[in-house]
Amino acid sequence: MSQKSEYIQTETGNKVSRKSLIIGSQNIILGGKTIIQADCCIRGDLRRLVPQGQNAAAVAIAVGRYCFLSKSCLLRPPSKTYRGQFSYYPMKLGDHVFVGEGSVVEAAVIGSYVNIGKNCVIGKFSIIKDCVRIEDGTVIAPNSVIPSFSSVEGHPGIVVEELPETAAEMLERELNHQ
């Protein structure tokens, strides 16, 4: 599937395209077996700011195992003002997460078995639970919570359908066919 020269393979089996843009890699954790395609951008430099004297929070973006980040998608930690201090906050992706081409993800938490389509916008601090499918071109509002086993569509994204109990296997299969 992938050309040997285009991808760099890490010890834990992650394949990262040489054409991707990974900023602040010291603040990014990849769980293993994750594929990052060309022009993908991951903003690990936007990490949490802590008051002086405390240890700096090390992780900005944590990605689970078997994730697939398609061409030109973007992972960007969310930011807000909390107790008078403006800061970026860490972002966590579960296992078996697929992010489609050109999607922009600023979620706080994404569960496992989540399939995000092409050109989606996942708003700041949104929480997506396990087994969710997000159709192409969906815009999820900031701070929203998407329950498990739902299919989301539209602008703004709303739950249009409930997924069957076999959703985890189904979404995993879809990911393997990409």
Binding site: R76, T81, Q85, F86, Y88, V121, G137, V139, H155, P156
Partner: protein, 184 residues
């Protein structure tokens, strides 16, 4: 405004346009400048990596306290150029060919502004919205959903600008400033 220097932009080896960058502005690595008309960047503004400024058709002026995010393209539509006001926040993946963007306007992810469009002060454009060519948006307009519009009556403009300043302070701590790279 420094002399042109080739090879400063990682994207191309073409000479940079004449730049006038305020010393308090923060320009990150790998910003691509193209064109020959001058580009002005105001005080305290932050440009994320991989944003593109194209001044082939006219000059670009960015006001003070602006944030331009990565992968956003600012393209001057004509000889009158593209003017961004103060406190403008442009999010990721935007394609902007507007003539003017007013003060304290938020342009969210993936917005497309048509050639020569004019956006008023204190407007909010929700993600993936599209503004047609030469369209004019009055002040305090909110564009949402499938290109629906309403008037923002929340009177939160002052609070928003304070948040913008806090956001810029935060980015200044996180993003290394490479502006001298472009001005040498």
């Amino acid at each position: 405004m420094g002399p042109k220097r080739s090879g400063a932009s990682s994207a191309s080896s073409a000479p940079l346009p004449p730049l006038s960058i305020d010393p308090t502005a923060v320009l990150s690595d790998a910003i691509s400048f193209s064109g020959t008309y001058p580009v002005t960047i105001g005080a305290n503004s932050v440009l994320h990596p991989r944003c593109k400024l194209n001044s082939t058709e006219g000059p670009i002026v960015i006001g003070s306290n602006c944030i331009i995010s990565e992968r956003t393209q600012l393209i001057a539509p004509d000889i009158d150029g593209l003017v961004l006001g103060n406190y403008v926040h442009v999010e990721v993946n935007c394609h902007i060919q507007a003539a003017r963007i007013g003060d304290a306007t938020s342009i969210e992810v993936g917005t497309k502004l048509g050639k020569g469009s004019c956006i008023g002060d204190n407007c909010t454009l929700s993600p993936l919205s599209t503004i047609r060519d030469v369209d004019v948006l009055p002040a305090f307009t909110v564009v949402y959903g499938e290109n629906q519009r309403r008037v923002d009556a929340s009177a939160t403009a002052v609070a928003r600008n304070e948040t913008m300043l806090a956001h810029i302070d935060c980015l200044k701590k996180l993003i290394p400033n490479k502006s001298e790279k472009y001005t040498r």
